[in-house]
């Protein structure tokens, strides 16, 4: 095991991504900052289409080539030993050296993420051969032990099977074994349980938590499910339309959600004493091509609308979606600290 595995960190600052589409250039990630700290789990939450996957792929420099690119900001990886690389600008070769070795990633749809024509064992062994220089035989034996480590029974036989012979939960376990093969300090998980059955989801959550603390990895857990993050995350970033709108420790965020979007999201999470809010938040996430001016959440913001009723008419403006505060339309709220380790991007909450 690499000596500094427990102190790897990823500092993301003002990350911007541009995608070329038929309608022109769009920016699905527009100035995002967060830290993946050594041995800790950062949750990245938000509805579908708000830019979570694009952010996660950007960290690994895995954006679709020729189509999308990191257009600004930095992604600074460091191993606590003075070594650091800015993944946003590093040469492709340098990035490849870290990928799969220092940073690993697992994906939402494990069935599609595994290559159908190679055995599961081969696909896991490939990582150890590439990054640890193991021989084929040694790498295969290591793949078997990794498979048992992620809870697959009869791993030696299973390693010789093909992905389609695995159930969804086992495929995600295999993906995890593949990610662990390089002994990474940082693991990025993009909706690791979304495609799985509910009962299997819980197993994978438990497994990931266990392995994360055992291996001491820093982790980014991307999901639209705040309920999962309540169990696994130390800190949570809430993302909306390509930006972070609120950031806080998990306990703090659930106890004291400040941003109207976070509040609306939390209202959708089922709790023991309260049924889930039906139908989610009214309206939908704008596509990157049509982000509204000012605060991107204003067309859906309950707070702005409520304040517009209470306050003078001259402070308000009529929009397609009703009367809202003029400030919400005119000013882009920055992410500002509102308490110890609690940040919000809303002009009305901060004031």
């Amino acid at each position: 095991m690499s000596p500094n595995r427990h102190s790897a960190a990823l500092a993301v600052r003002d990350l911007r991504v541009e995608i070329r589409t038929r309608e022109g250039i769009v920016r699905p990630v527009d100035g995002v900052s967060f830290d993946i700290r050594p041995g800790r789990t950062l949750g990245l939450a938000g509805e579908s289409g708000c830019g979570k996957t694009v952010s996660a792929l950007a960290l690994m420099r895995l954006l679709p080539r020729g189509q999308a690119r990191i257009s600004g900001g930095s992604v600074l990886w460091s191993n606590g030993d003075g070594e650091s690389v800015n993944l946003a600008t590093a040469a492709e070769q340098e990035v490849r050296r870290l990928r799969g070795r220092r940073l690993a990633m697992i994906f939402q749809d494990p069935a599609a993420a595994l290559n159908p024509v190679f055995t599961v064992g081969e696909q896991i062994a490939e990582v150890s051969r590439l990054h640890l220089g193991l021989s084929h035989g040694k790498a295969m034996r290591r793949a078997v032990s990794l498979l048992s480590r992620v809870g697959i029974a009869d791993a030696a036989r299973r390693a010789r099977e093909y992905p389609h012979q695995f159930s969804g939960g086992m495929q995600q376990r295999a993906m995890l074994a593949m990610a662990l093969a390089g002994e990474p300090g940082i693991l990025i998980a993009d909706e690791p349980t979304t495609a799985l059955d509910v009962t299997v989801q819980a197993q994978i959550v438990d497994l990931l938590r266990g392995l994360q603390s055992e291996a001491g990895m820093g982790m980014l857990w991307v999901t639209h499910d705040l309920g999962v993050l309540a169990q696994v995350a130390d800190e949570i970033c809430v993302m909306y339309a390509g930006r972070i709108v609120e950031r806080a420790g998990t306990r703090e965020l659930f106890a004291n959600p400040l941003h109207p979007y976070t509040q609306a999201l939390l209202a959708c999470v089922p709790r023991l004493h309260r049924p889930a809010g039906t139908g989610g938040i009214p309206g939908s996430v704008p596509t990157p091509a049509e982000v509204p001016p000012g605060c991107r959440f204003h067309p859906r913001c309950a707070l702005s609308r409520r304040l517009a009723v209470e306050l003078d008419a001259e402070l308000c403006v009529n929009t397609q979606s009703g009367s809202v505060l003029r400030r919400c339309v005119d000013e882009v709220p920055a992410l500002r600290p509102v308490g110890a380790d609690h940040w919000v991007a809303c002009g009305e909450v901060a004031s």
């Binding site: 870290l98 990928r99 799969g100 070795r101 993420a113 159908p116 590439l130 990054h131």
Partner: protein
């Protein structure tokens, strides 16, 4: 798997019988009369009605078509294809001595075309829309649009006769037996090159396009992103993870191309005086040599059916997801 193969073979047998029935009917209903041919070969410009009738009886031609077919099938089952109407030699001998030349041609063309198509397809897909992709795509499309016989004519006249770089006619030189081993090899290459190229170039164009298109599709798959996330080089991603997935459909395509290559052999072998079954078929057709035509039909049909079956089976072996019940 065994049951699947048995089922496929049975089906192939039925198809084969169907093909022979159609060919049998078409050849006999086409204008021309082997008995007349035989007589005119004998030098007589006129003949007695009696001699004509005797010949027709000799060839079974006076029987109803269904009777003729049944008799033919009965012999074929015992691998007896009869004797040539033309020279009286056993049909199996005539076909057998010519089969290797054509198989070499088809095999050579497939190997040669893949040797070009795979690297071209890979390089084109690597930078789709790039300079190489555009140029190679244009050149191959242009090549593909040239009919084989035009290309053959050009090559025979310009490269063969005029420049004299290659020998456009036949299998080997007359002095072949007197040559040293390297000399023999060179002589074979000189004779083989042009005709094999004529067979191969449309295949190159077709396969390269096919490989490129398939690779681009595969490159958009999630598992390619996984391969990149492992830290693999772009080369390893393309050559190992992507190519392995395009190999499966490629096998099928090649299996289906062999028959079409055989189809081209009639014209090309005739033009290049290549002593294969294509040339034989051409001769047999013009001579109304029914037994030879029928035998070649069976050979061609068997090759086609076998290629398709082999393509399917290889596919099954290469793709772990395909399992036959």
């Amino acid at each position: 798997m065994v049951r699947y193969v048995a089922k496929r073979l049975l089906l192939a047998g039925v198809t084969l019988v169907g093909i022979t029935i159609v060919t049998f009917a078409v050849t006999r209903l086409a204008p021309g009369d082997p008995a007349l041919e035989a007589v005119s070969r004998g030098g007589a410009s006129t003949m007695s009605a009696e001699a004509y009738a005797r010949l027709r009886t000799y060839y079974d031609l006076d029987q109803p078509l269904s009777r003729q077919y049944a008799a033919w099938l009965g012999r074929v089952v015992r691998l007896d294809f009869g004797r040539s109407f033309h020279d009286g030699r056993r049909v199996t001998d005539k076909v057998g001595e010519r089969l290797p030349a054509t198989l070499c041609l088809a095999g050579g063309a497939v190997v040669l075309s893949l040797a070009f198509a795979i690297p071209i397809g890979l390089a084109s897909a690597r930078r789709a829309g790039g300079v190489f992709d555009t140029v190679a795509g244009g050149v191959l499309a242009a090549l593909h649009s040239v009919p084989r016989y035009v290309m053959a004519m050009l090559l025979i006249v310009v490269v063969g006769v005029h420049l004299d770089w290659f020998s456009p006619y036949g299998l080997r030189s007359d002095s072949f037996e007197d040559m040293s081993y390297p000399g023999k090899a060179a002589d074979l290459v000189r004779h083989f090159a042009l005709i094999v190229f004529c067979f191969a170039y449309p295949l190159i164009a077709y396969q390269a396009r096919f490989i490129r298109g398939n690779l681009l599709e595969v490159l958009g798959q999630d598992y390619i992103r996984t391969a990149r996330a492992k830290g693999l080089s772009e080369r390893a991603v393309l050559h190992r993870h992507a190519f392995r997935n395009t190999l499966l459909p490629l096998i099928t395509v090649v299996g289906l191309l062999v028959p079409s290559a055989l189809g081209g052999s009639v014209i090309l072998e005739t033009m290049f005086q290549w002593p294969g079954i294509g040339q034989l078929l051409f001769q047999a057709m013009t001579q109304r040599d029914y037994p030879v035509v029928m035998a070649l039909t069976v050979v061609a049909a068997v090759v086609v059916l076998l290629c398709t079956l082999l393509a399917d089976l290889t596919y099954a072996l290469a793709d772990p997801r395909v399992r036959y019940a």
